[in-house]
Symmetry: none
DNA sequence: TACGAGTTGCGTCGATTGGTGCGTCGATAA
DNA sequence: TTATCGACGCACCAATCGACGCAACTCGTA
């Protein structure tokens, strides 16, 4: 009594791909039900499903679909994922498809992440990010994995108008991963760095990346989050007296230099004010504000502030 | 005990189906009298009748007959459909206590959390929440600790206009805590529950609480997050075919019943559609939508859907 | 830098399959 | 005598089938 014979639709739903894709995988790669009479409906046994699961996992790791299919086809038992991840060089094989996210030459990991995102596979997304974080650290993960994928999703969303769910899901997973990373390497001591988004700015992911990078570098910080009004920001500065403040602006619309001036004029003026993000324009920044080019520079600036503080205190 | 043995015709008349259909249901789905000698007449006990009632109600709601039969067959005592029907009648509505600052009577932990929040002390906030989660679980923590504090902050913000940075910081810490909690008790298996905010709805914290509670209960879910347009939601539903969908609306402005109707009209209609949050109005909800009163009820409803398989053919 | 070739996911279309409710028929239990 | 039984078959409809094509991404080449 094997009631586990899943239909094509059920399997597609479980994997997160379209039904037509299942058919394509069957006829292109031979990844179909073990017994299938042409013309009749496909009935996937648990074994067939396991094969497809392998296919799903490998593609989520960035392996070319053709290659993944070859592996899945002759896979008597679940294979170690390490061996796969280790072989970074992909055999010649292009990639694409209507529902993919452009990641350029950001590497197979980014490609896999994009695929997992498209099928709303939160588990695979989180796993990929977590692995990248432990292997390459926060800065590298952000620059070479997360940012390309996020930019790709953003571009696609800007042109087609869709993919909003994908964007939200990925953002959430990234946020969670950063939070977990920060928590794992959480240093102690007073927080002397304040991270905040500009007023009306709702993209906080880059700031969270910075926070995770700071935690990784042994720095403590305070994160105010998105959409912080100037009054609230100044209020927080005067109350906590941070050594450095990072203000993130993603677009020009939220990059009001007045906010930076307000920071510089605050009662307890921070040693360092960083205007981070592509929103700021160099020629409109008030004097005394530093504009880091990328995540790495922001981190090194923060580290420098910490060192100078330690030195001045003679600790 | 055997005094009420109904004949096939009586049962058929009571259910509103043909007699032959009863026979069909017996031999196709095993939904027959508990003791039946082949060739003899069927005698339905009240228990058998209850099973058939479940079958009828589920199919009337649009559930696939095979699936409905599976529910009805393996229904010991607590029937999900019963819970569903019962929840239609709203239990005595408990609005979150009309006081100005409800934190006061929410216990010392809430008071301490509020104080840490005013201090912008992220570490203390996170620690308090984490301890509450491990001690009392997700539901209790949400109801007795987090919600009072969040409501209190929200009220303050509504009247004074300040505290935005506090609100953000606490939200972020809560979000992180839920993420960590979900990750710690992360079950495996295909996600059969979809969590999403209504269109334009940007409060996702309650949904994250629900997610954490589901993970705690051993359920997997998919979280779409805030501000999900109807099109994206329907797209995700048709793509992943969840058994249940929870749509959160915090305020009336975001509670458009059209979104629920769109869910019910989706190609692969979910078994259960939950309209969660104070935004929804009971009298405007389309038929077939359940409105849980609180977090605990939402969790129990989701648990009821757990064991459902999505294949439409029985053993 | 631009462009064509190879890859790949998936939408669309007309035809078919398979699940479902129920009517019918000869035989049988009540 | 009547209601029901088991078996068979039919009509309806959603899901799926196979085939085809589109769009988009990558990469090699000019």
């Amino acid at each position: 009594m094997v009631d586990e014979a899943l239909s094509a639709g059920a399997v597609a739903r479980r994997l997160g791909v379209a039904v037509t894709t299942l058919r394509t995988w069957h006829q292109r790669y031979g990844l179909g039900p073990s017994e299938h009479i042409p013309g009749h409906h496909r009935r996937y046994t648990p074994t067939d499903l396991a094969r497809l699961e392998i296919m799903r996992r490998l593609t989520a790791e960035g392996v070319s679909p053709a290659e993944a299919a070859r592996w899945a086809r002759q896979a008597p038992e679940p294979m170690p994922a390490d061996a796969v991840a280790r072989s970074r060089i992909r055999p010649p094989g292009r990639d694409g498809g209507g529902g993919t996210i452009p990641v350029g030459r950001a590497g197979p990991a980014a490609r896999g992440l994009a695929r997992a995102a498209m099928r709303l596979d939160a588990a695979a997304i989180s796993e990929t990010i977590a692995r990248a974080l432990t292997v390459g650290g926060v800065v590298a993960t952000w620059d070479h994995l997360l940012r390309p994928v996020l930019v790709g999703i953003g571009d696609r969303h800007a042109t087609t108008g869709g993919l909003i769910e994908v964007e939200h899901l990925v953002s959430r997973c990234v946020s969670e991963a950063f939070a977990a990373s920060s928590r794992a390497a959480a240093p102690s001591g007073p927080a002397r760095i304040l991270l905040s988004c500009a007023d009306e700015e709702q993209h906080s992911l880059p700031l969270e990346a910075l926070g995770a990078a700071l935690a990784e570098a042994g720095l403590t910080y305070r994160m105010l989050g998105a959409r912080v009004p100037v009054a609230a920001l100044v209020e927080a500065v005067t109350r906590t007296g941070p050594a450095a403040v990072v203000l993130w602006s993603h677009t020009r619309a939220t990059a009001d230099p007045t906010q930076l001036s307000a920071l510089l004029a605050a009662p307890r003026r921070p040693l360092l004010v960083l205007a981070a993000g592509p929103g700021w324009r160099a020629d409109t920044l008030p004097a005394g504000v530093v504009r880091p080019a990328d995540l790495a520079e922001a981190v090194s600036l923060a580290v420098a502030v910490r060192d100078s503080l330690d030195q001045s205190r003679g600790a």
